[in-house]
Structures are given as structure tokens and as C-alpha cells.
Subunit: 222 residues, 2 copies
């Protein structure tokens, strides 16, 4: 399993869809929602793949996982495909998330339209800085980390978004997990240890730039 | 090749190291630099892997790519390993980057210590908003996108970081590429079309949350 910069780390058994397939389904979903917005109702696997740089065969294979939705010569009904992908990804319902560490990255995420559009709603904010506690950001009050148990219970947040400095990441993650959080999206550039029943996706932004530098270097050696 | 949320997309020939290996090398590097900071000079593959949840065998396989650095029973000399990893990743030198779209995410990235620590320096800022052009952020002046050619030429920036809204992403990417940028780190949740000689790493933050939701859903089905 990849341990790359923005990787999926799970301690549970391997899901039925590969990480690459899940990533592609997310991209198909973006594209299909864009087409729906343009009033288009059907799409062929070739057209869908072409827009994303994925082969026709790969698109058909990925979509076959969703059941028999396509019709030869007619293509896929976009609305049904969108519903099927959202169901497969587990985003055919709303997910409530709590965010810890209210800095610039947190403010960017709070204003990121893609989250509510895809059914993710940030419902609680936490910070350790006494100067921030009690402040309002995007309509939400910043709570101290001591209030994690009661605020998580009151809001029903299931996911945690960690935008804290490295030093505090594990401690805050532990508090979120103790409060019942089932998955953590970690932006702190450190390795978190979580119980086996808690899922983890880590995004290390420096790793992303390192991967880019590596690719540029390789391209210039070809 | 993965087209996931934070994926590597390259049109050039496949590099010798897999994306997963590159990701792990980045994580080893973080850990090794941490150990050096604690005054530790040698590490075994087992200890290194244990801290990161990677098997001993995988660590040895990844590090074998760097040449014969380890000594049985003694372990790896950390300083040499750090140098070798930085060389393999192409970050044994400084990379200059230009950032386009100066919102909250950009401000978070500009203050992100991990970038300069790993040899990435943001040397130019661009925005389309007339109210922002001419402002200073973290010691850098925000330029209009019309100045991309001259500013890229003057600063020698090789990488572009795109934190613009979806609507403007392709146009700004095209301008950066025309100005000589060799790789793009894209945060806009859209698919960019770049020439074959320009590398692309995309980070779609909603895709990351979708992957997490998918994992949480799968874990609860087990």
C-alpha cells in the first residue's frame, strides 16, 4: 500500500475498490457533474476517459464495478452514473467533520466550495490558542481542545480534519479518536498512530512538491 | 497510472522509482531528519520502518535503490542516507517556484515551513484581482498575470503552484508554461491539459475527503 504524500493508510482489511479506482471515480464524478451542469445527459466511456486522460477500457472497467449502467451505442446516463458513484464512494449522504487547528489552511478549507458540494460539512472548530478560542470563523465558534468530547458528541461529527502543527498532531488526533471520530484527514507532516478501526488519509504538501521536483528532474533526463 | 486525488500525472516516460517509492522516500527523509535533530546518527531498517508502519523488507528494498549504504548489524548512517535520498528525489538543490492565486490556501503555503526546509522557495506571486496586485505577502509583491513572462524570466522559477479558482486554472497554467515553467502543483479541482514536457501533480482536497469517507464506510462494513 502506498505511503506517499497524499496516501491512503488504513489498518482495516483492503476495500474492494483500489485506491486508484476510488481516485478515478472521484474524477469521473467531477467531470459528470460538470457535464450535467451543461445540460448534457449521456456520455460514452470514450468521451469521459478522453477528458481525463484515462483509456476507454479503464473507464469501462471502473464503471463496471457500479453495475450494468451503460448501453452500447447510447452511452451512460449521467444522472444515474453520478448517483451510483456517490453511493460507491459513500458520499450519497452528508458527512460531518470537525476541524482542529484554525490557521490559514483551515480558513482555506472552510471556504473551499468543493467540500459542501460533495456532501462534507465542517461543523466544529478547535484550537489550542487561547486568543482564538471563542472567535467565530465562517459562522462557527472556535472551541478549546478540552471541549472536544462534548462538541463532537453534540455535533455528531464523524470525520476529523487536522490542520495543527506537527508538535500537537498526535495529541489532538488522540482526543478526536477518544471522542468517537472514525476517520482523520491529516495535513500535519507527521506520521500518526491511530487505532485499527480509525481510517487515516494524510496530505503532506511538501511531499507533493517533492514528487513534482522528482518528475521534472526525471523528464529532463529523458 | 493513478489518477487519484493527489496523484502523479506525467506524460514523459515512467521514472525508475515508482510513485509509492518516491512517497516513502519522502517519509523516510522526514523521519531521518527528525532523528538527526535528536542527535541520532545511525538507524536500522527495522526501526525506520517501524516508525512509519512500513515493513523492514520494504525499507531495505527502497533504500537499496540508493546504493549500498547499510551495514549488517550496524544500520544506516543517517547523514549519508539523507543526502542520498535528497539526491534521488532531486531535492539536493533549491527549487524556485511561482505561485498563482493568492487566497487563504496560498497564504498557508507561503507560511508552510516544510517548503523552505525541503529546498522549495516561492519567489513570485501572481493574481488576477486588481485589488491584490501590488500588495506584499510574506515579503513578496503580488503581480498581475500579465507580468508572468517577465517575472518568471527574472526570478528563474521552474515550478508553478496553482491555487486559483477552477475557472482560471487552465488559462493561468498555460501562461506559466509559456513562460517556461517545467512542473505544476495544481490545487484547483479540475483536470489540466499540459504539454508532454511539463510535469503535473494535482491535489484535489475534496477527493482526499472522499477517499477518507470511502475508507470509513468500508471499515464499518467489515
Amino acid at each position: 500500500m502506498s505511503r506517499g504524500g497524499a496516501n491512503r493508510e488504513t489498518n482495516s482489511t483492503e476495500p474492494r475498490l483500489s485506491r486508484a479506482s476510488v481516485g478515478r471515480l472521484s474524477l469521473y464524478l467531477r467531470r459528470l457533474e460538470g457535464l450535467l451542469g451543461e445540460g448534457i445527459t449521456k456520455v460514452s466511456s470514450g468521451d469521459l476517459g478522453e477528458a481525463l486522460g484515462v483509456t476507454d477500457a479503464q473507464v469501462r472497467k471502473d464503471l463496471a464495478y457500479l453495475g450494468s449502467l451503460g448501453h452500447p451505442g447510447i452511452g451512460y446516463p449521467i444522472q444515474e452514473l453520478v448517483s451510483a458513484i456517490r453511493r460507491a464512494l459513500g458520499i450519497d449522504r452528508e458527512w460531518l467533520a470537525a476541524l482542529a487547528g484554525v490557521g490559514n489552511l483551515a480558513r482555506a478549507l472552510l471556504r473551499y466550495r468543493g467540500f459542501p458540494q460533495q456532501g462534507f460539512r465542517i461543523v466544529a472548530l478547535f484550537d489550542t490558542d487561547p486568543a482564538k478560542i471563542g472567535q467565530q470563523v465562517e459562522g462557527l465558534t472556535i472551541h478549546g481542545v478540552g471541549q472536544i468530547p462534548e462538541v463532537i458528541a453534540a455535533t455528531g461529527a464523524e470525520l476529523g480534519v487536522l490542520t495543527v502543527p506537527v508538535e500537537g498532531a498526535q495529541a489532538v488526533a488522540d482526543m478526536l479518536v477518544a471522542a468517537g471520530i472514525r476517520g482523520v484527514l491529516n495535513f500535519a507532516p507527521t506520521v500518526l498512530r491511530l487505532p485499527v478501526n480509525v481510517s487515516l488519509v494524510s496530505v503532506d504538501l511538501a511531499v507533493q512538491l517533492e514528487q513534482l521536483a522528482f518528475l521534472v528532474q526525471m523528464a529532463s533526463h529523458d
